[in-house]
Symmetry: C2
DNA sequence: CTGAAAGCGCTTACAG
DNA sequence: CTGAAAGCGCTTACAG
């Protein structure tokens, strides 16, 4: 591997000058810079990241933490963030929390993060008090995407979960539904996971605004996945008279619900309407009505918010971005039979 | 940040001993090791990765390259690989190639990789001759997942794409279909991308074995996505008499096809049968018949193949793993109307 | 605008 | 089993 000395020798300058020229620092004459670039090019030189990091104190890396990369929203956020970060020259270190709580603790341990990344992007990742305190003390720049922890001093990119859930439920109400079920995220599993709580809140608010009292028997918790949606729907059906409509807290659950309803001999939307929240890649294909949220935009904007302070620039945008959602009506919702 | 000297001072040993004790090298007495561990614990010490990498020559990082993290197969492979790698103490550096060819070239440039990662996992990533040569010359350990490049000396984990496609097509043939279309990956877009070629080959082999001549008008190319499947199906329908069955090269395309067929007023499977290849998370929910491939197993095994040589162990498994596929019959396939 | 020298925080022969 | 010292390949004040 060629190193900086090789380039310096060939360009007849010091290693300090090579370092400056290659990083585009302004204190290098044009002719020198040209000579250095030519030498580096000729030798196929790239600085060793380990050495740069140690000497410079910056890692050139952003750590991105997601609950599970296979879920639509998280995959899409990471996809968009990766592109933005790479264009800016940053590497993306992926932390996929998975199910294991032990995994979580270890990953979010301070010393692990601070020495590995210049900044942190937490996607839908709740934090304990202790974790929050540690991160605050590290003074690591960061951004949160979607709900989860609110880290003091960090910007956030998210939607109005309460409002989106309200809109989804209101759509069902406007069609004349009176028995509207909710498939909620499992609030107990992930500490202070506000997404689940907020969406349930929006659901309840919409019902109350329409003069309906939320019925706990129509409100079931499950995993935020296709299987979770299926299980929750089975659960719902086993409780007796089925609802006339279901608001699932995410599209994956909604698709699981649609599938289970059909297997149970119920037609969607004639017997039961289903609405989700996301606008998953496949929502259009399965005719799912949903409240769309712009996942890629989350990732792109969050990455941008991280880059500004890292480059020493003031943040271009305000600290907290609430992205718009919109109702997309497809074939999975309609008026109730008796409506 | 506490550094190794702090620990050494507290434990009353040299930094060399701290380094050895913490990494579990055998040449440290038990009592010394205990003292060092206690000191490190007390100070909350973790070694600086940059310094370790520079001094030790290892990065503790695996670079994982995927075409697009949002696609089911790739997301699932990365999810499984991440878990295995993290358990072994490795970081995962994600390279999401995306659409941009320029991106590709830069990422796969030798100097970029060798200094950033100890090993490389290429998922469905074709390489040019030049890239292959560079990688071979780097002597970087690696593994390929799914088809793409065959790097000399690297193990691979994949399915038999030709056989899987043959099985999918044979299923349609066995139901009595005579006009079987194929939605293929866009072979021209990604150099030497053998997955697309192999699946088309299997399709053609099955037809020929049944005495049917492949009809180019029933063989359309598209993106490996839901939208790609929709577009290709529209294309197919615009060519005149529709096929009685469609074999889509992946489930996402198959789901796009199902959706477009229904929008066009064609029933699945009564008017047109559809079979995919993957067993996507949502395949069961939409009743898609498919040839299942174990995506998570790909990721887990590939990560394992990488870890053995990195730990200096001989590889536990043979160099080339062909994982089994299996036909999963659901509701999207049936006999042709006139059959 | 450029260079000599120190230093980033570890690991690794080399000795003992 | 342990330590002193060199070295990994850069970047950064400090001088000029």
């Amino acid at each position: 591997m060629t190193k900086i000395d090789d380039v310096a020798r060939l360009a007849r300058v010091s290693t300090a000058t090579v370092s400056r020229a290659l990083r585009g620092l302004p204190t290098v004459s044009e002719s020198t810079r040209a000579r250095v670039l030519a030498a580096a090019e000729q030798l196929g030189y790239t600085a060793s990241p380990s050495a740069s990091r140690l000497a410079g104190g910056r890692t050139g890396t952003i750590a991105v933490v997601v609950p599970q990369i296979t879920r639509w929203f998280f995959g899409t956020v990471v996809d968009a963030a990766e592109e933005t970060l790479r264009e800016a020259g940053y590497d993306l270190l992926l932390y996929n929390l998975g199910d294991q709580e032990s995994n979580r603790r270890q990953l979010l341990h301070a010393s692990n993060l601070q020495k590995r990344a210049d900044a942190l992007m937490l996607v839908s990742t709740p934090l304990s008090e202790a974790e929050l305190a540690t991160i605050a003390q590290l003074r690591l720049p960061g951004v949160t995407v979607s709900s989860g922890a609110a880290v003091p001093g960090w910007p956030s990119v998210r939607i109005d979960d309460v409002g989106a859930a309200r809109a989804a439920t209101a759509h069902l109400l406007s069609l004349g539904h009176h028995r509207i079920a909710h498939l909620a995220g499992d609030a107990s599993a992930e500490l202070s996971f506000t997404t689940h709580i907020d969406r349930r809140l929006g659901y309840q608010q919409a019902l109350l605004a329409a003069g309906q009292k939320p019925d706990p028997r129509l409100d079931v918790e499950a995993q935020f996945t296709v299987d979770g949606g299926s299980q929750a729907t089975l659960d719902l059906l086993s409780r007796g008279e089925p609802p006339t409509a279901i608001f699932a807290a995410c599209d994956e659950m909604a698709m699981g619900a649609m599938s289970t309803l059909r297997s149970a001999g119920l037609r969607v939307p004639q017997d039961v309407s289903v609405i989700g929240l996301d606008d998953h890649d496949l929502a259009a294909a399965v005719g799912l009505t949903t409240v769309a949220q712009p996942a890629a935009t989350h990732g792109r904007l969050a990455a941008g918010l991280l880059l500004d302070p890292l480059a020493g620039r003031p943040r271009a945008t305000s600290a907290s971005i609430i992205l718009p959602t919109r109702l997309v009506v497809r074939e999975s919702t309609g008026p109730p039979r008796s409506g």
